[in-house]
């Protein structure tokens, strides 16, 4: 099975031009330009249909732009191409007896949206809560300042009015006693009053 794996890697790197990034178990991680390609190399003497679909399912969980499953040629009858097509997973068959030529791309993989990253809801909620708390406290401070300013101006104005009224009252008292200077000193006032 090591030969099959070896041929697969050569095919991927030499024929398709991918760059091998890492190998872990039966998972190969490669780069096609800027795209990440995951290949599940599943080679066994005896294949079980259920096991194949389990591997395909594992592939789907991986964070990549394209995904392939590589199987020995004998396993091909066990795979439903329609299912793979629907999932967008590519299929590569390997026949070690034919060397590098025995490696064939049976079905190309479809570029797929990367699976959403695991979202830590608690973190987001925490951040949202902190932002909201900050905004609320900022807004409440602003409102507090505004209300204070308005109240101050109302109070100042009211005080000013009271002062003015008091001053006007005093002025009026003076006027009632003597009349405004321009009127009191006007010769015409005496003259016209005599006409009554």
């Amino acid at each position: 099975m090591e030969l099959a794996r070896y041929l697969l890697i050569r095919y991927l790197t030499e024929v398709l031009g991918f760059k091998l990034e890492s190998e872990r178990g039966d998972d190969l991680a490669l780069l096609d330009g800027a795209n990440r390609v995951s290949v599940k190399a599943y080679f066994a003497d005896i294949y079980e249909e259920a096991e194949i679909y389990k591997k395909i399912n594992e592939l789907l969980q991986q964070d990549c732009d394209k995904a392939y499953i590589a199987l020995a040629k004998d396993a091909l009858p066990l795979v439903d191409p329609k299912h793979l097509k629907a999932l967008g997973v590519g299929l590569i068959s390997v026949d070690p007896s034919r060397g590098l030529e025995g490696v064939e791309l049976r079905m190309p993989a479809r570029a797929r949206p990367r699976p959403a990253q695991q979202v830590d809801l608690s973190k987001i909620l925490g951040a949202v809560n902190a932002a909201v708390a900050e905004a609320v406290s900022r807004e409440s401070k602003r409102i507090e300042e505004e209300v204070f300013k308005k109240l101050k101006s109302y109070v100042d104005k009211a005080l000013e009015d009271v002062r003015r009224e008091l001053a006007a009252g005093k002025a009026e008292q003076r006027t009632e006693q003597r009349g405004p200077p321009s009127i009191a000193e006007n010769e015409w006032v005496k003259l016209i009053r005599r006409r009554g």
Binding site: E172, T175, E176, G179, P180, S182, I183, E185, N186, E187, W188, V189, K190, L191, I192, R193, R195, G196
Partner: protein
Amino acid sequence: MAELSDSYRLKYVFGIDFGTSYTKYGPITLAEPNVVQTRGLFLRDVPESVKMRIPPDVLSRGLVVGDEEVRNYLSSVRDVQRNMKYPLKDGIARRDDEDAWSVLRELARYVLAQFPVADPEFKGWLVSMALSALAPDYMYRGFFDILEKISAESKSIYAATVLPQPLAVAIAENAVNCVIVEGGHGNIQVAPISYAMIREGLVALNRGGAEANAVTREVLKDMGYGDVAREEYVVETVKRAVGLVPRGLGQAIAAARSNPDKFTAKVRLSPIVEIEIPKEYAWTRFLIGEIVFNPRHEEFKSYIDQSRIRIEDAVIGDVTLYGEMDLASAIISSLRSVSVEVQDRVASNVILSGGAFKWDVPAGLEEYAVNSVEKIKLMLGEVNRELAAKVGVRLVKEPQYSAWRGAVIYGYALPLSLKWDNINKEGWYIIGGTS
């Protein structure tokens, strides 16, 4: 009718000075009156869509007054030229001009409504109105009728009186023996005053600031500024900026012709419009001021002969407004009606008021140009040296407000026991009374 206390009068005398261009109004408590243009806009030819936006009470009256209010509705009225009404011409509203009287009624309602009173002791305004000295009898009756109607709606007027504007100016100036020379836009009134206005001595001239504007316009046209000369604002600005009153017209023109560089001027009307008085027209600056004081000069003849300027007599009621009479002759003619005994005292105090006498002397031209006070003294000196030696001439302290101030002082002093008398034109017309 019970006399109202002095303290009541010091609060509730309301002065209105009906000028041809502006109405000055307000209670005695104001330091300076409010001012509104004497005009009204009729809401005729208003599209249906606009009508829906106009408050029903305004629409039912069909007329708006007040500077702000008129501006608000200007765009709603299709034919502004036809629907904007200036009710007073030379201070007079024609008897049969219903639109003019509607505007005056609305204006009176408007000015009184500006000062609502909540005082429980308020019995109504004592309204004191200053009208042109030329105002005929029917105008007095017309204004009393207007106030009757307003008070029937609002119960806001106790009594009303009218005094001629020259008398109001004399009261504001605290001058009991004087000659008031009121120079307005359309006419000049010369009124002798000795403890009252001497109506027989009233001399009116059918010219004023408007004629100075007309000369300015003709000069602008001759200089090639005919396009901008159409705008009244331009003419007024240029008149104020370059118009000069000559010490003597002949010498001033000769000096301006022999040394024109000294008399050229530039007026910047806007960042892109500048008017330059070129050398060959520099002498015409003196014509602008001179026409107010004396239009009997050869230099004006060519304008008059070509009918570019009209200087002619006019008759309002039983008063003739002289077109060509010079101001010195007008003052002397006015003084003749004053008792010889007090002539000296009256002549010693000639008071000029109104915009037609607002002339400046630019620095450096003192040899040739004078202000109005100096000009009147010079003119009187040419006609009668002896009189000129006794005459004192001065300008009023507040040209715009003196008639209003005089009106409120008159309203404060006039006893309520003196009922309105149509012959003497004096006393209070009690609103809702029998007078």
